[in-house]
Each structure stands twice: as structure tokens, then as C-alpha cells.
């Protein structure tokens, strides 16, 4: 079920009313679990089994970890959880990719490697819920949290529908306790949640889906278009993927708030970043912090020698790239980001920009503006490979952008879309110290607030194009 569908517009109010009509916490959790499975089952009920397996394995591993005294047994239990979760992920997401590449490598050496592709559909959101349950097992193993005995609460935590298919990837330490305490309806939270949903819908249905219309055409005919049009395609894809994914996250967080849950922030206005390190602190925060906590820091993080540090940076970007999908384009995208990240590590400036840009000022300084624009174009460079069907296509696009064609007239300038993107950017710029762009303080005059809501509703009703599936569903 898509957030931007009629199905969800019917599903959400029904679940909302029934949920708050239930007084008993356990029944409320059971209802949430059922609703979450229905939500997921709308896409393909057969894959509910995978969520069930992930949930039951980590639930049992958690319980057993509590009683296991010997370190070897604890390690074995953790490895079992990792093997099952990563194993499922591998089969569904990576098996074909590796098999294909093995065949190609063997062929290079004149040997035929016989193996069959599985050609199976990737279950929606598999990377998200796998990482969520995995973090639970690791945290229990590390004794950071106590294992959860309430099986319904645990299953509901894994399958919680607002964030089941595209995050934010929640930590058990933060989300699980919320299933165990009595939840009271909070008017302020719910109203703010609705605002966040509205902003998310705007970013997804207006900005991202309209960008998709142009981006799909430009990348499908990349051979026919000049460098300027291809650059425009790259820039529009940057806004498409941002509107798509951050829009989804806003809807997810806003929806969770309607049910009395607080999810972690997933985006913090990443295109206002002044360097690539700041970008990665602001983009897909739940995944970046997951890799930081469960991969980068255990590898030694930044507190090691130069060589090890470089190695760690590449590992983190490589796994991040592979998390997105089994394609060389993602690996190139990861490498571009790693190469751009390294100078900051060497210069020790990777934590230079921890604050919000132009704090307490309306306009940025020229330096800040220059840094933001420069960072944005580096990111666009990476996105071009991310969006391309294969590395060759990405390379051709980059080559054409770097040619004289960059100064040709753009094939079709999407002036309306640019106005909408500017509207989004200006709004987010003004609200950049807030959790989301529609988080208004009572100081903001109600006429202005209602004016903004009205414009957004108007755009949602009258400007939506052909709805597109969320990009991150396939991850």
C-alpha cells in the first residue's frame, strides 16, 4: 500500500479510529501488528512470511541471549541471527548480482561457470526491516538493551506499518519501549503529525513525481540530449530522490505521531550542507547512523591509523552502496562519495559543520553559499550514477556534461517545476532549524499558516501527475 494512494487514505482513518477505541495496551499492539501485516500484505502477502521469520528469529535469539552465559554461545546466537537475516537479504537481493558477476569473471578467464539466476522479486522494504531487527539482536548481544519477552510488542516493533517499508530504520532502544507503555492521544503531536504528512505529500506527489516525469525522459534518451539537458536531469533527480524519500519519511513520522509514537528524524535539509560530511549527517540519518554504530565504530572508526581510516571510509560507503542495491552503479556512487569524503578526514574538517547553516541569519554568507552549491554539485555527480541503468550510461552522461554541450540550450526547460522546487527550498531554508518545514511556532500568524496549508492542498489536488512508486521501496 502506497502512502500516496486512495487505499491508504481509507486505511489510515479506519486504523486510527479503531486503534484509539481500544483501551488495552496489549490488544492495541495486537491491532497495530494486524494493521501492519494488512498494510504490507496489500503489496504481496506472500512476503509476510519473511517478516515473520525475521521477527521470530530475532525474538528467540534475544531471549536466548539473556540466558546464555558463555561468550561463545552468545556469539553463536548473534551469528545465527546475522546469518538468517543477511542470508534472506542475500538470496532476495544480491544472489543474482553475484552470480552474474561470477559468470562474467570466469568467462574472462575462459571458463564457463554454470549457475542459474533466481529472478525473484525483491520484497518491498526488506533492507529496512532486516536492519531494524538486526540492530535489536546486536544491541541485546552488546547488553545495551534487555531482550523483549512480549512477543506481540516485538513483532509490532518489527512490522510497525508507518516505517515498515522505507524507514526510518528504528533502533529497538528507542522504538520498542514505546510499544510497552500506555499511549495517550496527544493533540499537539497529532496536529503536528498531520502537518508533517502534508509536507511529505507535497514533496512526494508534487516535487518528486513531477521531477520523475522529466528525469525518466532525460535518462531514457541520454544519447539524444546535450550536456545541459543531462545536467538538468541530474539536478532534477537530486530533487526527485530527496522529495521522494524525505517525503516518505515525513509521512511515516507524521503517521506514527497520530498513533502516539515518535520516530527518529531521517532527513535534516541535506541540500543545505556545506560539505559532504555534513550531507551524510543530514541524509538518511537512520541508515547513516546505523552503519556508523554497527560497522564504522566497530571497525575502529576515525581513531585509527591513516591507512585503516581510509579503509574504513571505503568499507562504510561500499556497504552503504550495496545496501541500496546490487548494481555497479551504486558501487560507483559509493566510491564517488568516499573519494569526496576522504579529503575532509585528512584535513580533519569532517566535523567542521555541525551547526545549522547561517544560524540566526536569513541569508547565508557568500562562503556558505559557495560551499552549499559546490557540495550539491558533488552530490549530483554521484546521483547521476545512482540513477543510471548501468555504469556505462552514467559515464556517457558525465562525459556529455563535461563537453561543449553543457552550453547548449536545454531541451525543455521545466519552468513550473523549477518554481515548485524553489518554493520547497525557500520554505525549507526558512524552517531549517525545525524538525520539518511545516513546524510552526504559535508566533506565526494563523492566516499565514492557513494560507500555506491551502496552497499545499490546492497543489496536491490540482497539480499531481501520474503517481510514482517510492524509489526506496525497491531497497
Amino acid at each position: 500500500m502506497l502512502f500516496n494512494s486512495i487505499d491508504f487514505a481509507i486505511f489510515l482513518p479506519i486504523v486510527f479510529f479503531l486503534y484509539w477505541a481500544i483501551r488495552d495496551l496489549k490488544i492495541q499492539n495486537l491491532f497495530l501488528l494486524t494493521a501492519s501485516y494488512v498494510f504490507y500484505g496489500f503489496w504481496d502477502w506472500r512476503f509476510l512470511g519473511l517478516i515473520f521469520i525475521s521477527s521470530i528469529v530475532d525474538y528467540l535469539v534475544g531471549i536466548n541471549l539473556q540466558y546464555a552465559q558463555k561468550e561463545t554461545r552468545r556469539k553463536a546466537l548473534l551469528l545465527f541471527s546475522i546469518a538468517i537475516n543477511i542470508g534472506i537479504l542475500f538470496i532476495f537481493k544480491y544472489y543474482d548480482f553475484f552470480i552474474e558477476n561470477f559468470i562474467n569473471v570466469f568467462r574472462l578467464f575462459g571458463t564457463e561457470f554454470q549457475a542459474k539466476r533466481l529472478d525473484i522479486v525483491i520484497p518491498v522494504g526488506i533492507s529496512f526491516y532486516t536492519f531494524q531487527t538486526l540492530s535489536y539482536s546486536i544491541d541485546v548481544y552488546r547488553r545495551k538493551i534487555t531482550p523483549q519477552k512480549d512477543i506481540i510488542a516485538f513483532f509490532a516493533f518489527v512490522a510497525f506499518f508507518p516505517q515498515l517499508v522505507a524507514g526510518p530504520i528504528e533502533r529497538a532502544k528507542e522504538l520498542l519501549p514505546q510499544f510497552l507503555q500506555k499511549r495517550a492521544f496527544d493533540y499537539t503531536q497529532a496536529v503536528d503529525g498531520m502537518r508533517q504528512i502534508l509536507w511529505g505529500l507535497f514533496k512526494k506527489m508534487i516535487v518528486a513525481d513531477t521531477c520523475a516525469y522529466y528525469v525518466n525522459d532525460i535518462f531514457a534518451h541520454y544519447g539524444d540530449y546535450s550536456g545541459s539537458t543531462l545536467l538538468l536531469g541530474g539536478i532534477l533527480f537530486a530533487f526527485q530522490i530527496y522529495g521522494d524519500f524525505s517525503g516518505y519519511s515525513d509521512i511515516a513520522i507524521g503517521t506514527a505521531r497520530l498513533f502516539g509514537f515518535t520516530l527518529m528524524r531521517n532527513f535534516a535539509y541535506p541540500y543545505f550542507s556545506r560539505d559532504i560530511a555534513e550531507f551524510w549527517r543530514r541524509w538518511h540519518i537512520s541508515l547513516t547512523s546505523w552503519f556508523r554504530d554497527y560497522v564504522y565504530i566497530p571497525l575502529g572508526g576515525s581513531n585509527t591509523g591513516y591507512l585503516r581510516k581510509i579503509c574504513n571510509i571505503f568499507i562504510i560507503f561500499l556497504v552503504s552502496a550495496l545496501w541500496h542495491g546490487a548494481n555497479w552503479t551504486f558501487i560507483v556512487w559509493g566510491l564517488i562519495n568516499a573519494f569526496c569524503f576522504l579529503p575532509l578526514i585528512f584535513l580533519g574538517t569532517n566535523r567542521r559543520n555541525l551547526d545549522t547553516v547561517a544560524q540566526n541569519r536569513i541569508v547565508p554568507t557568500w562562503h556558505e553559499l559557495r560551499d552549499m552549491v559546490f557540495t550539491f554539485f558533488i552530490i549530483v555527480l554521484g546521483w547521476i550514477f545512482f540513477r543510471s541503468e548501468n555504469v556505462y550510461q552514467g559515464w556517457v552522461v558525465i562525459k556529455k556534461i563535461a563537453s561543449k554541450g553543457l552550453f547548449d540550450a536545454v531541451h525543455e526547460f521545466p519552468s513550473k517545476l523549477i518554481v515548485l522546487i524553489l518554493f520547497m527550498l525557500i520554505f525549507e531554508w526558512v524552517q531549517r532549524d525545525k524538525q520539518h518545514a511545516l513546524e510552526f511556532t504559535p508566533r506565526v500568524h494563523y492566516a499565514l499558516r492557513y494560507g500555506v496549508y491551502s496552497v499545499l492542498v490546492f497543489l496536491l489536488v490540482f497539480f499531481t501527475v501520474e503517481p510514482q512508486a517510492f524509489i526506496y521501496f525497491k531497497f
Binding site: 484509539w20 492521544f185 496527544d186 493533540y187 497529532a190 496536529v191 498531520m194 513550473k416 496549508y453 491551502s454 492542498v457 490546492f458 497543489l459 489536488v461 490540482f462 497539480f463
Partner: protein
């Protein structure tokens, strides 16, 4: 009232507000005529003709099969009545034709004959509430409808939203009249289409039961003003006509039940005489087909005694 009730009532109020707000904006856009709806140029062209017209005695309303086969000038000459061809397209349906006829009658009270002419598969299309919406004229047009019809027109406000942003931006642009579309008193035809294969008949199952809703309004309108009303089928590719005999029998039966004077002959047009569609006569034969149609209906026309020997056409 607890927090939950307050939230639900506020959200409900918001939804109502949002709905009304969108309807209001849409109506404003429609009323200031900045929306680029389908075939707007044609619709505006016919409105301009109506506004300039006077003394019309015979008027044709219908779809593109009419627009491509009847020359008002030729018909005026043949029938010795001041004639007007106010053809729209199938997109507007009977609903749009009804609104247009109201305008024509308002301007030309002496009308004697109204001839409705549509292609055969018109009876298989859904009621065109969007056509009604775009030709509504004033709020009276909405108020005169039954509640269910009103809702359908309001629904069309959403389903035919088009590109509202473009329309709003258009407010700040100087619009140039686009004359490129205009052919012989109608939309200029594209290249001739070749019909080489055997046509499939129009299925009987496609007939819309409620399709005559606005045709019945046309009938009442003409009755109220004492106007002679005829219904004609537009010309159609012969292969398709021969394959659609059951369908034709069925729709003739339905049309007869409305009480309209139906001239049930269908001109089956050979491939060579077709233009860019199976129901569009090639432009050079427009006058010839006007004559054919005149011969078909001449005995049903009311022809007043001429004031002079000059007849105007629109």
C-alpha cells in the same frame, strides 16, 4: 470534548474547508476563462459565432462528425434559412450541446429548426459532465440540475483539473489567438487516415443507459420554445456501419423512446471519402455531404417565408 474528539472534528472541518477551497478556486479559474481545457479554441470559436449571430433559423449542434460534414453556408443556400453549424466535439457530449443550444436560443429567439447530429458511438460514451462544466456559462447552469447531476459536475471539477498552475501563470501572459487549428468552419483536419482493415462493429454492450439524460433536456428546451427538433446520425466508414447493425437498431430504439424526430439513415462512407477519422468526411466533400443531408431532412424542416433572397450562415 477530549483531545481526540477535538482533533477529529478539526480534521473533518479542515477536509471540508479544503474541499470548498479547491472548488472555489476552480470555479474562479473557470469563470475568468483562463483554463486551457480540451478543444477550448473550438468552443470559444463557436461562442464568438453565437455572440455575433442574429436571425438564425436553423442550427446544427453535435460532435466532430457534424463539424466535418455540414457546411452552414451551403445549407443556408439549399434550405433558404439562416443556418449555423455550432459543432463541438464528442468530448462535450449532449451535455455541452445542451448548454450551447441554450446560448443560441437566448440570442436567436426566432429559431425554427434544431438538428442534433452525432456519430454513432456517442451513445456508448459516458455522460460528459466535463463538457457540461466547460460550457456551463453561469451558476444557473449548475442550479438547474438535479442533486445527483450537480454532484457529478462538481466531481468533474476535480477529475478535469488539467494544468491549473499553467492557467494561473497564463494570467500574467498575453495570450495570442491560435488560428492554426481552424479549418473550414471547424478544426482543421490532419492527414487522411487509411482504413485498410475490416472494421469491428460497435458493441451493443457499450450503450450507456443514461446517455439520453441531456438529450432529453435538449428536447424539453426545444419544446418549450416551439422549435422543430431533429436527430441525425453522423456519417461513418461503411465497413463500420455494416458491422454495427445490431448496435444501430438498439440506439435507434432508445432515441425513439425519447420522443425526438429521428432520421435513422446512416451515410455509410467509403474509405476514399473519409478524412482523418472514420466519422470525418474529407474536407473537399463537405458541400456534397451537406447536400445529401439536406435531401434527407428537407421534408422535416420548417422553412419560414423569406424576408429577402440573401441568407446568412454562421
Amino acid at each position: 470534548m477530549n483531545d481526540l474528539q477535538k482533533f477529529v472534528s478539526k480534521t473533518a472541518a479542515w477536509c471540508v474547508y479544503a474541499f470548498l477551497f479547491c472548488v472555489a478556486v476552480r470555479l474562479i479559474i473557470l469563470s475568468v476563462n483562463i483554463e486551457q481545457y480540451p478543444f477550448k479554441y473550438l468552443y470559444q470559436y463557436q461562442i464568438d459565432k453565437i455572440d455575433k449571430s442574429s436571425g438564425i433559423q436553423t442550427v446544427f449542434i453535435g460532435d466532430s462528425s457534424l463539424g466535418n460534414s455540414i457546411s452552414a453556408e451551403e445549407f443556408s443556400r439549399l434550405s433558404r434559412t439562416n443556418s449555423m453549424n455550432a459543432a463541438l466535439t464528442g468530448y462535450y457530449g449532449f451535455a455541452g450541446q445542451y448548454n450551447l443550444l441554450k446560448r443560441i436560443i437566448k440570442k436567436n429567439l426566432q429559431i425554427k429548426n434544431v438538428i442534433v447530429m452525432n456519430t454513432l458511438d456517442m451513445m456508448g460514451r459516458e455522460i460528459s459532465y466535463q463538457g457540461y462544466l466547460y460550457s456551463i456559462g453561469d451558476i444557473q447552469g449548475l442550479l438547474e440540475l438535479a442533486p445527483r447531476e450537480k454532484l457529478s459536475v462538481i466531481k468533474a471539477l476535480y477529475t478535469t483539473r488539467g494544468d491549473v498552475i499553467d492557467d494561473l501563470l497564463g494570467l500574467f501572459k498575453t495570450r495570442k489567438d491560435n488560428e492554426r487549428w481552424k479549418g473550414d468552419d471547424y478544426i482543421k483536419q490532419q492527414d487522411k487516415k487509411q482504413f485498410l482493415t475490416q472494421a469491428k462493429g460497435i458493441p451493443v454492450s457499450s450503450i450507456e443507459k443514461d446517455k439520453t439524460l441531456f438529450l432529453k433536456k435538449i428536447i424539453i428546451l426545444c419544446k418549450t420554445h416551439g422549435i422543430n427538433l431533429l436527430y441525425l446520425h453522423g456519417p461513418l466508414w461503411d465497413s463500420k456501419v455494416h458491422a454495427s447493425s445490431s448496435y444501430i437498431t438498439q440506439i435507434n430504439g432508445i432515441l425513439k423512446t425519447t420522443g425526438i424526430t429521428l432520421i435513422d439513415h446512416v451515410f455509410a462512407v467509403p474509405n476514399a471519402e473519409l478524412g482523418d477519422s472514420a466519422d470525418h468526411i474529407t474536407p473537399p466533400l463537405k458541400a456534397e455531404y451537406t447536400k445529401k443531408y439536406y435531401d434527407l431532412i428537407r421534408d422535416h424542416l420548417i422553412v419560414p417565408a423569406p424576408d429577402n433572397l440573401e441568407f446568412s450562415s454562421y
